[in-house]
Protein backbone atom coordinates (compact mmCIF):
# COMPACT_ATOMS: atom_id res chain seq x y z
CA UNK A 1 0.00 0.00 0.00
CA UNK A 2 1.19 3.47 -0.93
CA UNK A 3 1.05 6.01 1.89
CA UNK A 4 0.54 9.61 0.78
CA UNK A 5 1.35 12.62 2.99
CA UNK A 6 0.60 16.24 2.09
CA UNK A 7 1.42 18.11 5.32
CA UNK A 8 4.67 19.70 6.48
CA UNK A 9 6.43 17.46 9.02
CA UNK A 10 7.49 20.57 10.94
CA UNK A 11 3.94 21.52 11.88
CA UNK A 12 1.87 18.35 11.52
CA UNK A 13 2.19 14.77 12.78
CA UNK A 14 0.79 13.09 9.63
CA UNK A 15 4.09 11.78 8.25
CA UNK A 16 5.28 10.44 11.60
CA UNK A 17 1.95 8.64 12.10
CA UNK A 18 2.00 7.28 8.57
CA UNK A 19 5.57 5.99 8.93
CA UNK A 20 4.83 4.43 12.31
CA UNK A 21 1.77 2.54 11.03
CA UNK A 22 2.86 1.70 7.46
CA UNK A 23 4.06 -1.87 7.01
CA UNK A 24 7.77 -2.29 6.36
CA UNK A 25 8.63 -1.94 2.69
CA UNK A 26 5.52 -0.03 1.71
CA UNK A 27 6.28 3.17 -0.20
CA UNK A 28 5.57 6.72 1.02
CA UNK A 29 4.73 9.54 -1.38
CA UNK A 30 5.23 13.15 -0.30
CA UNK A 31 3.09 15.76 -2.07
CA UNK A 32 2.13 19.42 -1.54
CA UNK A 33 3.56 20.74 1.76
CA UNK A 34 4.62 17.18 2.54
CA UNK A 35 7.65 17.59 0.25
CA UNK A 36 9.41 19.72 2.88
CA UNK A 37 10.11 16.42 4.67
CA UNK A 38 12.50 15.49 1.85
CA UNK A 39 14.65 18.61 2.16
CA UNK A 40 18.27 17.84 3.08
CA UNK A 41 19.86 19.64 6.00
CA UNK A 42 16.74 20.21 8.08
CA UNK A 43 16.03 19.06 11.64
CA UNK A 44 13.61 16.53 10.14
CA UNK A 45 16.09 15.10 7.61
CA UNK A 46 17.55 12.50 10.04
CA UNK A 47 14.01 11.25 10.71
CA UNK A 48 13.41 10.91 6.99
CA UNK A 49 16.69 9.01 6.68
CA UNK A 50 15.32 6.59 9.30
CA UNK A 51 12.05 6.27 7.42
CA UNK A 52 14.04 5.51 4.25
CA UNK A 53 15.53 2.43 5.95
CA UNK A 54 12.07 0.85 5.97
CA UNK A 55 10.26 2.56 3.10
CA UNK A 56 10.97 3.77 -0.41
CA UNK A 57 10.18 7.50 -0.36
CA UNK A 58 8.93 9.39 -3.41
CA UNK A 59 8.33 13.13 -3.80
CA UNK A 60 6.21 14.91 -6.38
CA UNK A 61 8.59 17.01 -8.50
CA UNK A 62 6.11 19.79 -9.39
CA UNK A 63 5.57 20.36 -5.65
CA UNK A 64 9.33 20.37 -5.01
CA UNK A 65 9.89 22.99 -7.71
CA UNK A 66 7.00 25.13 -6.45
CA UNK A 67 8.67 25.23 -3.03
CA UNK A 68 12.26 25.51 -4.27
CA UNK A 69 13.26 22.37 -2.39
CA UNK A 70 16.44 21.71 -4.33
CA UNK A 71 18.49 19.57 -1.97
CA UNK A 72 17.00 16.18 -1.17
CA UNK A 73 17.77 13.65 1.52
CA UNK A 74 19.76 10.85 -0.14
CA UNK A 75 17.64 8.03 -1.46
CA UNK A 76 14.47 10.03 -2.10
CA UNK A 77 13.09 9.46 -5.60
CA UNK A 78 11.21 12.00 -7.70
CA UNK A 79 8.01 11.42 -9.68
CA UNK A 80 5.89 13.72 -11.81
CA UNK A 81 2.08 13.49 -12.05
CA UNK A 82 2.44 10.64 -14.55
CA UNK A 83 4.72 8.72 -12.17
CA UNK A 84 2.25 9.50 -9.35
CA UNK A 85 -0.48 7.75 -11.36
CA UNK A 86 1.83 4.77 -11.92
CA UNK A 87 2.44 4.46 -8.17
CA UNK A 88 -1.31 4.44 -7.53
CA UNK A 89 -1.83 1.91 -10.32
CA UNK A 90 0.82 -0.35 -8.78
CA UNK A 91 -0.78 -0.50 -5.34
CA UNK A 92 -3.69 0.73 -3.19
CA UNK A 93 -3.20 4.15 -1.68
CA UNK A 94 -4.01 5.71 1.69
CA UNK A 95 -3.95 9.48 2.21
CA UNK A 96 -2.83 10.67 5.63
CA UNK A 97 -4.64 14.02 5.24
Amino acid sequence: MLHMVNKSPFSNSALEEAARIASKGSPILLIEDGVYAARAGTSFAPKLADILKDHPVYVLTPDLKARAVDKLVEGVEQVDYSGFVDLVEKDKVHSWV
Binding site: N6, E32, L60, F84, V85, V93
Partner: protein, 118 residues
Protein backbone atom coordinates in the same frame (compact mmCIF):
# COMPACT_ATOMS: atom_id res chain seq x y z
CA UNK B 1 -7.72 0.88 -14.31
CA UNK B 2 -10.72 2.47 -12.59
CA UNK B 3 -9.93 5.33 -10.21
CA UNK B 4 -12.29 7.12 -7.81
CA UNK B 5 -11.25 10.50 -6.45
CA UNK B 6 -12.34 12.21 -3.24
CA UNK B 7 -11.63 15.94 -2.58
CA UNK B 8 -12.00 17.20 1.00
CA UNK B 9 -10.94 20.85 0.90
CA UNK B 10 -12.18 24.07 -0.69
CA UNK B 11 -10.56 25.25 -3.94
CA UNK B 12 -7.88 27.94 -3.62
CA UNK B 13 -7.89 27.61 0.16
CA UNK B 14 -5.98 24.33 -0.15
CA UNK B 15 -4.00 22.67 -2.91
CA UNK B 16 -6.15 19.50 -2.82
CA UNK B 17 -8.32 20.55 -5.79
CA UNK B 18 -5.23 21.38 -7.86
CA UNK B 19 -3.45 18.13 -7.14
CA UNK B 20 -6.64 16.15 -7.79
CA UNK B 21 -6.99 17.88 -11.18
CA UNK B 22 -3.40 17.21 -12.24
CA UNK B 23 -3.69 13.60 -11.06
CA UNK B 24 -6.92 13.08 -13.01
CA UNK B 25 -5.46 14.63 -16.18
CA UNK B 26 -2.39 12.40 -15.96
CA UNK B 27 -4.57 9.33 -15.29
CA UNK B 28 -6.76 10.09 -18.32
CA UNK B 29 -3.65 10.63 -20.46
CA UNK B 30 -2.51 7.14 -19.51
CA UNK B 31 -5.86 5.63 -20.50
CA UNK B 32 -7.31 5.11 -17.02
CA UNK B 33 -10.97 5.64 -16.19
CA UNK B 34 -12.25 8.03 -13.53
CA UNK B 35 -15.36 6.40 -12.03
CA UNK B 36 -16.36 9.54 -10.15
CA UNK B 37 -15.04 12.60 -8.35
CA UNK B 38 -16.68 13.16 -4.96
CA UNK B 39 -16.53 16.44 -2.99
CA UNK B 40 -16.90 16.16 0.77
CA UNK B 41 -16.33 18.41 3.83
CA UNK B 42 -15.30 21.90 2.56
CA UNK B 43 -14.59 20.18 -0.76
CA UNK B 44 -18.20 20.88 -1.76
CA UNK B 45 -17.21 24.52 -2.38
CA UNK B 46 -15.61 23.18 -5.59
CA UNK B 47 -19.15 22.91 -6.98
CA UNK B 48 -20.14 26.55 -6.25
CA UNK B 49 -20.93 28.29 -9.53
CA UNK B 50 -20.97 31.82 -8.06
CA UNK B 51 -17.20 32.17 -7.81
CA UNK B 52 -15.15 34.70 -9.76
CA UNK B 53 -11.48 33.83 -9.23
CA UNK B 54 -8.89 36.48 -10.23
CA UNK B 55 -8.26 36.61 -13.98
CA UNK B 56 -4.51 36.15 -13.56
CA UNK B 57 -4.90 32.85 -11.74
CA UNK B 58 -6.17 29.38 -12.76
CA UNK B 59 -9.93 28.85 -12.71
CA UNK B 60 -10.51 25.71 -10.66
CA UNK B 61 -14.26 25.73 -11.24
CA UNK B 62 -13.82 25.70 -15.03
CA UNK B 63 -11.53 22.70 -14.67
CA UNK B 64 -14.41 20.72 -13.16
CA UNK B 65 -16.65 21.78 -16.04
CA UNK B 66 -13.95 20.65 -18.46
CA UNK B 67 -13.69 17.25 -16.78
CA UNK B 68 -17.42 16.87 -16.16
CA UNK B 69 -18.83 18.17 -19.39
CA UNK B 70 -16.11 17.64 -21.97
CA UNK B 71 -14.53 14.47 -20.58
CA UNK B 72 -17.82 13.07 -19.24
CA UNK B 73 -16.58 12.39 -15.72
CA UNK B 74 -19.26 12.10 -13.04
CA UNK B 75 -18.55 14.85 -10.47
CA UNK B 76 -20.64 14.87 -7.30
CA UNK B 77 -20.84 17.17 -4.29
CA UNK B 78 -22.26 15.54 -1.14
CA UNK B 79 -25.71 16.93 -0.45
CA UNK B 80 -25.48 16.94 3.35
CA UNK B 81 -22.06 18.65 3.34
CA UNK B 82 -23.35 21.08 0.67
CA UNK B 83 -26.38 22.09 2.74
CA UNK B 84 -24.16 22.98 5.71
CA UNK B 85 -22.02 25.21 3.49
CA UNK B 86 -24.63 26.76 1.21
CA UNK B 87 -24.00 24.92 -2.05
CA UNK B 88 -27.28 24.10 -3.71
CA UNK B 89 -29.04 22.81 -6.80
CA UNK B 90 -29.34 25.55 -9.41
CA UNK B 91 -26.16 27.25 -8.19
CA UNK B 92 -23.65 24.58 -9.06
CA UNK B 93 -20.83 24.42 -11.54
CA UNK B 94 -21.75 23.07 -14.97
CA UNK B 95 -20.69 19.45 -15.26
CA UNK B 96 -21.14 18.71 -11.55
CA UNK B 97 -24.16 17.48 -9.59
CA UNK B 98 -25.32 17.19 -6.00
CA UNK B 99 -26.17 13.80 -4.56
CA UNK B 100 -25.97 11.65 -1.45
CA UNK B 101 -23.10 9.98 0.38
CA UNK B 102 -24.19 6.73 -1.25
CA UNK B 103 -22.34 7.99 -4.33
CA UNK B 104 -19.13 7.87 -2.32
CA UNK B 105 -19.81 4.35 -1.04
CA UNK B 106 -20.77 3.30 -4.54
CA UNK B 107 -17.62 4.62 -6.24
CA UNK B 108 -15.45 3.18 -3.46
CA UNK B 109 -16.83 -0.28 -4.17
CA UNK B 110 -16.75 0.06 -7.95
CA UNK B 111 -13.29 1.54 -8.46
CA UNK B 112 -10.00 -0.36 -8.33
CA UNK B 113 -8.46 2.56 -6.47
CA UNK B 114 -9.86 5.26 -4.22
CA UNK B 115 -7.59 8.26 -3.81
CA UNK B 116 -8.33 11.10 -1.40
CA UNK B 117 -7.01 14.65 -1.69
CA UNK B 118 -7.43 16.75 1.45
Amino acid sequence: MKFAVQVLEAPYNNQASDTAYHFIKAALDKGHTIVRVFFYHNGVVNANNSAEPPNDDRNIYKRWTELGKEKGIDIVACIAASKRRGIKEGQIVEGTRISGLGQLADMTIEADRLITFG
